[in-house]
């Protein structure tokens, strides 16, 4: 990899991370099906469907749940092509790699023998691998839908109103808040390096540069955390996090919650 490519690709990676966050915010602001429900309904309902996916043992039922996830995505105005690129392909790659040995190692009736090699894909192995991939695809799609259709601050408030400890919610909120600042800082550091670069440095020098950047970022983040703590104390922080919930459940939210729970329960019963 040439040096210029390394820096350019890093800068592009930072920019893409920020662009993804903006895209997610836009999706969360669309007038789709999921977006009309109270955030607590979205959190509970989608988590119930994730649990159902995990508990189902039949491929057909998990496939139907994946279809339901795709349907929810379409009705919530989430771009299917983007979902396929960001979730389905990535999950297929990673989980497929993990499931690959199961095709050959799981004992059972041979379904297909690779010519020239004494390797057979067993029927049971194939079912296990497909079930694993489908489960992860469906669970990841439901989880992604939650994040794409709900602004992050609403997810946090929903988690808080569902009695997740305030300290954990505050940590998640601050991580999300400051990761963007640190991405921006890292981006500026790489851009400033790029603007002063002439020629190509050896790979070892690039590794050193990355290490130094990580070190500087770490020391900046320590300094920042101290300043943020002072700013919190200045406004009355005394070790306990107070939060303001603005959510109100309406009739349609109760209907939605029931629909999510019933779908999950039926799937678990059919897929047992």
């Amino acid at each position: 990899m040439s040096g210029r490519t390394f820096i350019e690709s890093t800068v592009r990676g930072f920019t893409e991370a920020l662009a993804h966050a903006l895209l997610s915010e836009r999706a969360a602001g669309q007038a789709g099906l999921l977006q009309t429900f109270d955030p607590r309904v979205r959190v509970l309902g989608l988590l119930a469907l994730v649990a159902a996916v995990v508990l189902c043992r039949r491929i057909e039922v998990v496939a139907v749940l994946l279809g339901l996830a795709a349907l929810l995505a379409v009705s919530s105005r989430v771009n299917l092509a983007s979902l396929a690129k960001r979730v389905w392909l990535v999950v297929l790659g990673f989980t497929g790699l993990i499931a690959l040995p199961a095709l050959f190692l799981t004992p059972g009736e041979p379904w297909f023998t690779i010519p020239g090699l004494r390797l057979s894909i067993t029927q049971h192995g194939l079912r296990t691998a497909v079930l694993l991939v489908l489960r992860v695809e469906a669970a990841a799609t439901f989880a992604t839908l939650l994040v794409l259709c709900t602004p992050w601050n609403h997810v946090l408030k929903a988690l808080r109103s569902l009695h997740l400890p305030a300290e954990i919610v505050a940590m998640l909120a601050m991580t999300h808040r400051y990761v963007f600042l640190l991405i921006e800082t890292a981006n500026q550091m790489f851009e400033s390096r790029q603007s002063r670069m002439v020629g190509v440095l050896p790979a070892k020098e690039y590794r050193n540069m990355t290490t130094r950047t990580a070190g500087v970022l770490l020391s900046k983040s320590v300094e920042l955390s101290h300043e943020v703590y002072l700013a919190m104390i200045s406004r009355g922080f005394r070790g306990e996090i107070a939060s303001l919930s603005e959510f109100r459940m309406k009739f349609r939210d109760y209907v939605g919650l029931m629909a999510f729970f019933c779908s999950g329960a039926i799937a678990v019963w059919l897929g047992r």
Binding site: L22, N153, R177, L181, E227, L230, A231, R235, L244
Partner: protein
Amino acid sequence: MDRAFELHDVHFDYEGIAALQGLSLQVEQGERVALLGANGSGKSTLLRILNALYFPKQGSVHFQSEPLTQRRFQDEEFLLSFRRRVALVFQNPDVQLFNPTVFDEVAYGPLQLNWRREELVRRVEETLSLMAITHLRERPPYRLSGGEKKRVALASVLVLDPEVLLLDEPTATLDPRTQSQVIDLLQQWKGTPKTVITATHQVEIVEYIADRVIVLQAGHIAASGTPAEILSNRDLLLSANLIHVHRHAHGGVMHSHPHFHGHSHQEPEP
């Protein structure tokens, strides 16, 4: 006039590096004071001591005759009352904007101080409107411009309607328009009971934002006086590193004079 702050022989250091060296100071209630000094002169440290974020290693600090000590802040009633009455706007707004949205940010202080929900929401809405940032209420801080961040940081303390406002470089790094908006806001408080202490190194703004200027140099007070008195003392400003000598040519003849930005100067006759 009652006294807001009284500091006597205050010393403070960062692991052996002196930041304040025997500083004594009185600030009356309703006074608008500018702390003028170059980088590293101790302005920010002084503001943090006035906000009881740091406590002096030596010397004493009193707020309305109450000593500001770590022991005093163990009394929750006093702590809540002090945080309600004295507010600090940090130099870097990113430090101060740690909540997921602008609304949450402005609501943070009142929430910590146990305000009733109805009053809290009403005050937050009023403050958003006052600072002309209602349209930003659901926006996360990373999607705000520098000027917007500064306004939100100001709103997050103004919501408490504090008696004392401590501002650390409120106009630094802002574009001229936002800078002028912040100065207008500071000018609005002239004649009100609010005590406003502003740390700045921008000589050109002090006459608009302060009735008294205190020049800090290497952790101690180098001079104190009205803006007119301080701004006319070029030697003082030069030695405090607040203005610089500017060299340029008039008709091929080079000459030099003290110079700071934002003010016109009389050119000598060629």
